[in-house]
């Protein structure tokens, strides 16, 4: 997905001279084409994320569109106050891109697990929070991000993630995309883990449970209509996010359901309120924390 993001960004930057990449010494093997094509719009700040974010904001205040880009928590938590006070409070065109959300960096350890980013970013006024589910969404989201005026958080996968959607997608910020229809329950996913929700829906179908699967690629602003439709039409919701259960997608969906007064079966599948210090690959850790198709299916059965 990160390659798809970088390809799209390069294409957009060929036509849009406002685009600057402002980095903090991360991006090896991916950002070189941009750096070579636009040396006067590419700045590596060194390992200095606070300055990276401030410089990006200063450029944006002069009419540029700045992309900050790094892995996991480096461009978010390390420089959170710059994002809040500088970028968001001044409502500037800074696009914060992380590679490898959730447990993508698996065995590298807790420093490289981005597991609180969605809740923290969505708490900031004026911030859009976007977690593409597959490469099609990632390409479309890159264009949507640049077209959007204002701060934007983009959580990008770093592998060749499988497609969640068959065929062409209609990607609009704040508008969920249905990957599979169903009548008995809705699995709402965000980010690349949504593919596992789709696999779980297939397992459930084999036992006669018809599960709708929705990609909530934009966690903020969230698609209230899709959530209410899911509740009213399928009668139950299970959220799936590669992120702590505190304040992320599950919480955002629960807020809508509760405010709408819809008393339905509801479960949140996410990382429990803990640091993932056990060691393992991305896939293994996901299975461990209940994101295997079987694990998701079991949670759905329990909810119903």
């Amino acid at each position: 997905m990160r390659s798809a993001f970088n390809e799209e960004l390069l294409e957009i930057a060929r036509k849009d001279e406002r685009i600057f990449m402002v980095l903090a010494d991360i991006g090896y093997g991916e950002i070189e084409p941009f750096a070579e094509a636009f040396p006067d719009r590419f700045y590596n700040c060194g390992v200095a994320e606070q300055n990276m974010t401030g410089v990006a904001c200063g450029l944006a205040m002069e009419g540029k569109v700045s992309i900050t880009y790094s892995i996991a928590n480096f461009p978010t938590l390390r420089c959170l106050e710059q994002i809040r006070n500088d970028v968001c409070y001044h409502n500037q065109n800074v696009k914060i891109v992380i590679i490898g959300g959730g447990l993508a960096y698996g065995a590298l350890g807790v420093s490289h697990h981005s597991t609180e980013d969605i809740s923290i970013m969505r708490a900031l006024p004026d911030m859009v929070v976007c977690c593409p589910a597959d490469i099609k969404e990632a390409r479309a989201a890159t264009h949507a991000m640049i077209a959007h005026e204002g701060p934007f958080y983009y959580r990008c996968g770093y592998k060749q993630e499988p497609d969640v959607h068959a065929g062409v997608i209609d990607f609009q910020l704040g508008k969920a995309i249905q990957a599979r229809d169903g009548a008995d329950v809705t699995l709402i996913g965000t980010g690349t883990v949504t593919f596992r929700a789709l696999q779980a829906a297939e397992l459930l179908a084999a036992e006669g449970i018809s599960a709708r699967v929705v990609s909530m690629h934009t966690v903020k602003p969230i698609d209230r209509e899709a959530i209410i439709a899911a509740a009213e039409e399928t009668g139950g919701i299970v959220t799936v996010e590669e992120h702590t259960v505190c304040g992320g997608l599950g919480s955002a969906v629960a807020e809508v359901v509760a405010e709408a007064g819809l008393g339905i079966p509801f479960r949140m599948i996410g990382i429990p309120d803990t640091y993932v210090h056990i060691v393992g690959t991305h896939e293994w850790l996901l299975d461990y924390y209940g994101f295997s198709p079987e694990g998701i299916a079991a949670t759905v059965r329990e909810a119903l």
């Binding site: 606070q50 300055n51 401030g54 410089v55 200063g58 450029l59 205040m61 106050e81 500088d86 001044h90």
Partner: protein, 273 residues
């Protein structure tokens, strides 16, 4: 410098100080010392150095002025009001319910480029603005006024290394070097000395001046950049709360304001009725 101009600076600096006394007294807010130490420099900047237009605060070719020490914002509000950026009556609402002016500087006020309040935020943003100006072949300049506390922040050092790396000679830092921080004298907290040589080693062109000597301030800021290809750093030695004799160079003046009796006494010292 002719005496008339010097008098003009002094009068404006006095009015800034008087406004700050009344504003902080009315709001029972703090940071008087930080406002007073830079008042003379603000008078010179807004009279002779900064190319800004009160009638058109968004003028694209204006010089950018970022106050990184946002806690001293009332002094900038005062000089902006004096220069006609907004009605003088707004100063009366500082720090009050439904007021026009907040305790820390805010970009919601005409003439204010950037909101700060947490230290270490000004210089990185100034650097981004300087990069943009150079890319667009614009000739306006970027000024960043910082405090001693600002110089403690890691982000400031990240930014000053970056500015030197990229030869940003369109940026000028002015440090209001009063050497008193929130909890103590700089010498007892984080001693920056030898400061000027340190900055020179980091690739900046540095001048040390007396930040209360308006003539020296004007002369220094009229010679920018100090060296082509290098960012400029003015280490302006000042006295915390300069102008209120009993508060000068005191740690207490960082958070302090004056009571009714002190207000009258302080205004009398300034020669303001």
């Amino acid at each position: 410098m002719d005496g008339e101009k010097l008098e003009q600076y002094r009068n404006l600096a006095t009015r800034i100080r008087a406004h700050c006394l009344r504003m902080t007294h009315r709001g029972m807010s703090g940071h008087l010392g930080s406002m007073f130490s830079m008042a003379d420099m603000l008078a010179v900047l807004y009279t002779s150095i900064l190319k800004v237009d009160a009638k058109n605060p968004e003028w694209p070719d204006r010089d950018r002025f970022i106050l990184s020490k946002g806690h001293g914002g009332a002094a900038v509000f005062a000089v902006l009001a004096e220069k006609g950026f907004f009605p003088m009556e707004w100063l009366d609402t500082y720090y009050l319910d439904d007021g026009k002016l907040s305790g820390h500087i805010s970009h919601h006020v005409p003439g204010v480029e950037f909101s700060t309040g947490s230290l270490g935020h000004g210089l990185p943003v100034a650097v981004g603005m300087a990069l943009a100006a150079r890319k667009d072949d614009k000739h306006h300049r970027i000024f960043c006024m910082m405090s001693d506390g600002d110089c403690n922040e890691g982000s400031t050092w990240e930014a000053l290394m970056f500015a030197a790396q990229h030869n940003l000679d369109n940026i000028t830092v002015i440090v209001d070097y009063n050497r008193v921080q929130a909890l103590g004298k700089m010498a007892d907290v984080i001693e920056m000395e030898p400061f000027a040589p340190k900055l020179e080693l980091f690739g900046w062109a540095v001048r040390e001046i007396d930040g209360h000597d308006c003539e020296q301030v004007e002369d220094t800021l009229s010679e920018l950049p100090f060296e082509p290809g290098k960012p400029s750093w003015v280490l302006a030695r000042t006295v915390k709360c300069k102008g209120v004799s009993w508060l000068e160079d005191t740690v207490g003046s960082h958070y302090g304001c004056v009571n009714d009796e002190e207000l009258a006494r302080a205004l009398a010292e300034l020669g303001v009725s």
